[in-house]
């Protein structure tokens, strides 16, 4: 698989002949962003349609505990982070379907429980805080070759999943009962979508960190809503905003010496502001 990455890097050298894209660690970071940003934005479109931003935030924060568990058990924190994220997503979805409580309340309960567990583990383990920095703020510039391949595989998997389910997921977001009557397998889709979101969120944490990961999913889709009238433009504008803010964020962080993840999110937020202005000016 390494030759594949080498090929992609040399191709990038030709497509992006800029100073910031020369060092190998920058090439890795750019490629990682090109994998992560579209996957996150694509999942973000139905996520916003479902009003599930809080859910993705809860999964993001569960990563904090996932990492702590990994360090505690002596397993690679990335593995426990993804596994724990999937577990929390599954648990929230199951509990949500079986209680009268509102989804927000269920997520809130899980959110705080999971964080409390993480804090308890970390406080008992001296010297663990150092490890957490990279996860809290993201560490795009230190992405390894294996991680890059994982991110590439994730983009392909998310693309395939959404290709097969997108229409039915959107129908489900309009009205559950109506979707059911149209033959949509409601439960299977709810659970699988929650797991895909968890997979994307935990992978994207590597890029922008626990604190900002929800932005990568929600902001492009939200910005696209300001300018799009139909489903086609809403989707592709979100992808474009994610890629543009990802690349310009990396470039700017290189020259300004700021944290990469935060800079990317600031660019996405700026594009959100711009589309919001556009909406105000060209009010339909």
């Amino acid at each position: 698989m390494e030759p594949l990455l080498d090929f992609l890097f040399s191709a990038m050298g030709r497509v992006l002949p800029f100073g910031f894209a020369e060092p190998l660690f920058m090439k890795r970071a750019i490629l990682a962003m090109l994998f992560i940003a579209p996957a996150a934005a694509a999942v973000g479109v139905p996520l916003v349609h479902f009003r599930m931003a809080f859910f993705s935030d809860a999964i993001g924060h569960s990563a904090f505990t996932g990492v702590a568990i990994g360090v505690l058990l002596g397993v690679h924190p990335l593995l426990t982070m993804v596994a724990f994220g999937l577990f929390v997503a599954w648990a929230i979805t199951r509990v949500k379907g079986r209680t009268e409580l509102s989804p927000d309340t269920v997520i809130g309960v899980f959110f705080s429980t999971v964080i409390a567990l993480g804090v308890a583990i970390i406080s008992a383990q001296k010297g663990l805080t150092r490890n957490l920095q990279a996860y809290l703020y993201g560490d795009l510039l230190a992405v390894s070759g294996t991680e890059l391949l994982w991110m590439g595989a994730l983009l392909i998997a998310v693309g395939a999943y959404l290709f097969l389910t997108f229409n039915r997921i959107m129908l489900l977001g309009v009205h559950e009962g109506f979707a059911r009557s149209m033959g949509v397998p409601v439960q299977a889709l709810e659970v699988s979508f929650a797991l895909v979101v968890a997979l994307v969120v935990t992978t994207a944490i590597r890029a922008v960190g626990i604190l900002l990961v929800t932005a990568l999913l929600v902001v492009p889709a939200a910005a696209a809503r300001n300018v799009a009238r139909g489903a086609v433009s809403a989707f592709w504008v979100a992808i474009a905003i994610a890629v543009v803010s990802g690349l310009s964020g990396i470039a700017a962080s290189y020259y300004l010496d700021t944290a990469t993840g935060a800079t990317v999110v600031l660019f996405a937020a700026a594009l959100f502001a711009a589309t919001a202005m556009h909406k105000v000016v060209f009010r339909r």
Binding site: G177, A231, V232
Partner: protein, 269 residues
């Protein structure tokens, strides 16, 4: 009442639904027969929508819902069409009417555009209910009546065995009666699906339903429409003081006025 042979029946046997320790429906026993219009009436909170959701398999229940179909009319699970009271989606969602219709008529994601087939099918579906001018409108900008027409057309597109129609809430522009008279009545006489209609409007029920099920967490009574809408049954369902008021020409049908309503005559909730 119709006297034709019923080639399918939905049999509900001893159905109960509990949620949060409260019995929402108990001991429901009813048949919904092919080709008939069955009206489900009862006060707010009577469990009418819950019964529809149970038939759709969206709430947990005890008891049995059986679909019996005469062998010569095919096999397998019934197609159940459903027109909800209102959609609970985000009104700002970037989704046109065409996008919405394409969601269920084409396999590949609508973000890659609409197939010629799904565009044609969307136009036909909308034309059937007389709203083809809405095709490129954002879904969230439609009125409740327009939305319900589109949902009805979609539900009928797949030729259902059973159609569940939850009553329109805000009948300001197109009332349930309008929807029913103009379109549904005609379609219903052509195709032989069973229609289960939730309604508050007893004039609609009186005019169109073959059978009535009066519900208030349990079945108060059921039977042929003419026999069911008696003052005694209405009182059992809505409490004392409920009465029918007839409008316009005295045809014996009327709107129900619950005792606490106290508003104008056209009030519906």
């Amino acid at each position: 009442m119709m006297v034709t042979a019923h080639h399918h029946t939905l049999e509900i046997r001893d159905l109960s639904v509990r949620a949060g320790g409260v019995e929402i429906l108990s001991g429901i026993h009813a048949d919904i027969r092919c080709g008939e219009v069955t009206a489900l009436v009862g006060p707010n909170g009577a469990g009418k929508t819950t019964l529809l959701l149970a038939i759709l398999g969206l709430v947990r229940y005890t008891g049995e819902i059986r679909f019996c179909r005469a062998a010569e009319h095919g096999e397998g699970a019934p197609r159940i069409g459903y027109v909800p009271q209102r959609l609970d989606f985000d009104r700002n969602a970037p989704m046109t009417v065409l996008d919405f219709l394409a969601l269920s008529s084409q396999r590949y994601p609508v973000v890659f555009g609409h197939s010629a087939r799904s565009k044609r099918s969307a136009r036909e579906t909308l034309a059937r209910v007389g709203v083809d001018h809405l095709i490129s409108r954002p879904l969230g900008k439609l009125s409740g009546g327009e939305l319900q027409r589109i949902l009805l057309a979609l539900a009928l597109r797949d030729d259902p065995d059973i159609l569940l129609l939850d009553e329109p809430v805000s009948g300001a522009d197109l009332s349930g009666e309008g929807l029913f008279c103009e379109f549904l009545g005609q379609i219903h006489s052509e195709s032989r699906f069973s229609l289960l209609l939730v309604s508050h409007d007893l004039s609609v029920v009186g005019r169109h339903a073959d059978r009535v099920i009066c519900l208030n967490r349990r079945i108060i009574c059921q039977g042929a429409t003419t026999e069911m809408l008696t003052p005694e049954n209405l009182e059992a369902m809505y409490g004392s003081g409920a009465h029918l008021v007839s409008h316009g020409p005295a045809d014996g049908r009327g709107h129900l006025h619950p005792p606490a309503a106290g508003g104008g005559e056209d009030r519906r909730d």
